[in-house]
Symmetry: C2
DNA sequence: TGCATTTTTTATGTCGACAAAACCCGGACG
DNA sequence: CGTCCGGGTTTTGTCGACATAAAAAATGCA
């Protein structure tokens, strides 16, 4: 069994010493992280040849990873011409918020009804990490762990359609939330922690109505925070 | 020999006389139709080389089309081995129905609130086609026009996230619905036509509550029909 | 005969190369 | 002075070929 394949196993070695199906997944994961982490600026061009050189592989696996990313809307490919990192659309965010709040409600309600014991343990673990991030005032970690928390709830609900849409919304939100959390206010994250705790309690009690109500308030509150932040917290206040 | 070009051979004579970006789209559209129309049996294997021979092009565009189809869940690719048409999962359909009914409600409510005049015209046109299909007793056309009707409503609502999920659900449903509509009962389709009309009226009146209520009943009724059909219309009825 | 092992086969993952389409940039022309 | 056209450049779309993993077939042995 030739399992000891680490690097440069082929002396003839055109094909790099990596396992056969791993190239696409690696490129996909890395690019996805870089897009969501805003290391790749929205709107910037993505060059296949450059990526091929960077990852030391041919353009074919790069291209496949790009097609998958395009399928999730993270990059946009103009026909026959450049492919760009999808710009985040700050103009019409109302549909985004509508969908986000609805998924908050639906997933939390389903989780309250259908969760298993192990699911709730995972949710609590995510909540602990989120609380730690809040204590550490680590904005990046807060974004990531908050998304993981709600995604764990969605998975406890057991509806793959909701989970998929929710994940996409949370991903897309990661890029916007970074604008938000960069200027966060100290007491707000702690409030989120408390609301998370209340949601966990409602789910543990299998109180679907209460869980959904809390999720709705949670979501609408976040939406309101972002809206006031983007539209300007203090409007122009002129006494006539 | 793949000499059967769809169009007359172009005099340029280069590799395949078709326009540059069209190969992938053509393969994607055709395969998608064949999958949703059940001409490709769920679970059957998909061979890249065979498709390449069939469409008279290299494996590369075939592969890209397959990646995109896999991104929508229409095909499933096992690593390093065969890719198969995704089998329709008749066991746990509860999540599917949950998502479907929720999208019925959300899209119809949004459409009632936010539709423009042109949107409603498109919806009415789809409804006319659906009614025609019902009159003609054309099960295939009924499935297609019904999906188009609800999709038109979703687009009138103007939320791309809901529209995308709804389209995916309706697509996936097309494969199951064919099992259902093949043995349809005469008066049911007419009932759907009437319910559609009521939904249009509520949307035209911008009565969001009523539109959502009708959409919910509509969806739940369809779900119930399919459930009784699949689980057996007449349950075992033994008087003890 | 039945099972383990090796060989063959088949389909996929990856590669380097070629061709076409869109941009860039001068230059001619009105 | 602005606009249109042609060549050069760059990047993408497509191709044929090779390497490799997993299944299928063939072989050997108890």
């Amino acid at each position: 069994m030739p399992t000891a394949r680490t690097k440069a196993a082929k002396p003839d070695g055109a094909a790099g010493g990596r396992k056969r199906g791993s190239g696409v997944k690696r490129v996909y994961d890395i690019l996805r992280d870089e897009i969501l982490g805003l290391q790749l600026v929205p709107g910037s061009m993505v060059d296949e040849a450059g990526l091929a050189a960077r990852f030391g592989m041919s353009r074919t696996p790069i291209r496949e990873a790009l097609v998958r990313l395009a399928g999730e809307g993270l990059i946009t490919t103009l026909p026959n011409r450049s492919t760009v990192v999808s710009p985040l659309d700050l103009l019409n965010m109302a549909p985004y918020f509508d969908a986000l709040v609805l998924m908050y409600r639906a997933t939390t309600r389903l989780a309250a009804q259908r969760h298993q014991a192990a699911d709730l343990m995972r949710v609590r673990a995510c909540q602990a990490e989120f609380a730690a991030a809040v204590r550490g005032q680590d904005a990046m970690a807060m974004i990531a762990t908050n998304a993981a928390f709600h995604l764990a709830i969605a998975e406890a609900g057991g509806n793959p359609y909701f989970t998929a849409l929710f994940q996409r919304l949370l991903d897309e939100g990661r890029r916007m939330l970074r604008l938000y959390y960069q200027s966060y206010d100290d007491q707000l994250p702690q409030r989120f922690v408390d609301e998370h705790e209340a949601m966990i309690a409602a789910m543990a009690a299998r109180d679907a109505e209460e869980a959904e109500r809390l999720a709705r308030l949670h979501g609408e509150q976040i939406v309101e925070q972002i809206r006031t932040l983007l539209c300007g917290a203090e409007r122009l206040d002129i006494a006539l």
